[in-house]
């Protein structure tokens, strides 16, 4: 129910930001998270919800090993 996509912050303008998604520039609300240009952020319905960490923390094999160790 939550179509959201990660994009790259291009510009910050007070509580608004311009986020780039592979060549699509969207003006999004930035009031909920501290961001700076270059950040990789999750955007839902025109609002930035989270800064995504860049290191491959979603590395599936690492997560798999964690599950196995439970």
């Amino acid at each position: 129910m939550c179509v959201a996509m990660p994009g790259r912050v291009v510009k910050v303008d007070g509580t608004k930001a311009e986020v780039d998604f592979s060549g699509n520039l969207v003006r999004a609300e930035a009031g909920l998270v501290k961001i700076k240009p270059g950040d990789y952020v999750l955007v839902h319905a025109g609002c930035i919800l989270q800064v995504m960490s860049e290191e491959d923390s979603n590395n599936l094999m690492d997560l798999f090993k964690e599950i196995e160790s439970l």
Binding site: L32, L42, L49, Q50
Partner: protein
């Protein structure tokens, strides 16, 4: 093929029933053909995670009525436009001359309202915890800029009470694929009380097919244990987005809410606080839920009690072209998915 994919394909243990409670997960599962790479002993059930599907008919009726009132414009996401209330949808209202506009973001309504101050713009504010913060920001901005012709008709819901309802009233679920983007806002720890109470595992999952497969694997492996596993750590933390939670609590408070086919579930919704009543388009007491067709079994399908095939209308009187209930209207509804994918 990864180790966990192979495991899931070849699994021949006790039958497992897993429920996803996020419409976007439902869509991705269908899109990637995930059911077709799982052992038949692993059944995926779509739960009440699509805000469009669980919206009661009287809410739609009110929107339809508002769109037909002079100087009122109903603004909505695309998802809601086809859903019928007790007889009509917003698309039907548009064909009758009602004012209905579609936007990508609730924030877009600010520009619309500013450009046409003589009209009242009513936003069809549906959603779960992921979207509620955006409505809060909208009101914050409206107050800051002094825009007075915006209203919300709310049908905002929260996840834990309905998951609790399913576990308490239905049971038969061995694991939950927890909504990834809801968890970004609320934090994964929100599911711990439920996991512990019912000893059912929750896997907070991202939306890539591999992430979903890994989450399904985790749920099968941890069956019977009340674990909450965060398998989407790049976006989800245990505590969630505090700033978002704060702004939501400023404008909204918990209230009882009506769920299509399930009746009223206590404290399962979010409503505007009394001090912001000026922004409300009459959201209270919209609990009446009357499907145009009395034989519609959406309620039971939505909670996973029956499969779409067990509804007497499925495929005959109810198809995507002539949907009788929300499960068939929404592209994430179980009935729609079963129908177009010829699922058994």
């Amino acid at each position: 093929m990864t180790e966990y994919q192979a495991y899931l394909k070849n699994y021949d243990g006790e039958p497992v029933r897993l429920m996803e409670v996020c419409g976007t997960h439902t869509a991705e599962i269908s899109h990637s053909g995930i059911a077709s790479v799982l052992s038949p002993n692993i059944r995926l059930i779509s739960g009440p995670g699509c805000p469009v599907c669980v919206t009661v008919t009287s809410y739609i009726d009110r929107l339809v009525a508002l769109s037909l009132e002079p100087n009122h414009v109903v603004v909505s996401f695309g998802d809601l436009l086809r859903v019928k209330g007790s007889s009509q949808s917003l698309n039907d209202a548009k064909a009758l001359g009602g004012q209905v506009r579609m936007v990508y973001s609730p924030m877009d309504v600010l520009k619309l309202a500013d450009a046409e101050p003589e009209q009242i713009f009513v936003f069809a504010a549906v959603g779960f915890e992921t979207t509620t913060p955006v409505y809060a920001l909208l009101l914050e901005e409206a107050q800051k800029t002094g825009i007075q012709n915006i209203r919300l008709l709310t049908s905002l819901k929260t996840m834990p009470p309905v998951i609790d309802w399913v576990c308490a009233n239905q049971g038969g679920i061995d694991g939950f694929l927890a909504p990834g983007h809801v968890s970004v806002i609320t934090g994964s720890s929100m599911f711990e009380p439920l996991a512990q109470t019912y000893s059912i595992p929750f896997a907070v999952s991202g939306f890539e097919p591999q992430q979903i497969l890994l989450s399904i694997y985790a749920l099968v492996r941890r069956r019977g244990k009340g674990d909450v596993m965060n398998l989407y750590p790049s976006a989800v933390t245990a505590e969630g987005n505090k700033a978002a939670q704060r702004v939501v609590n400023q404008y909204f408070e918990s209230c009882d809410a009506a769920w299509r086919g399930m009746g009223v579930i206590a404290e399962s919704g979010m409503c505007l606080r009394a001090e912001y009543a000026e922004f409300d388009a009459g959201s209270m007491n919209l609990t009446d839920d009357r499907s145009a067709n009395p034989n519609c079994r959406c309620a039971k399908v939505l909670t996973g009690a029956i499969s779409p095939h067990e509804c007497p209308l499925f495929g005959s009187q109810c198809t995507p072209q002539i949907p009788q209930g929300a499960c068939m209207v929404s592209t994430e509804g179980s009935c729609y998915q079963y129908y177009v994918n010829h699922r058994k």
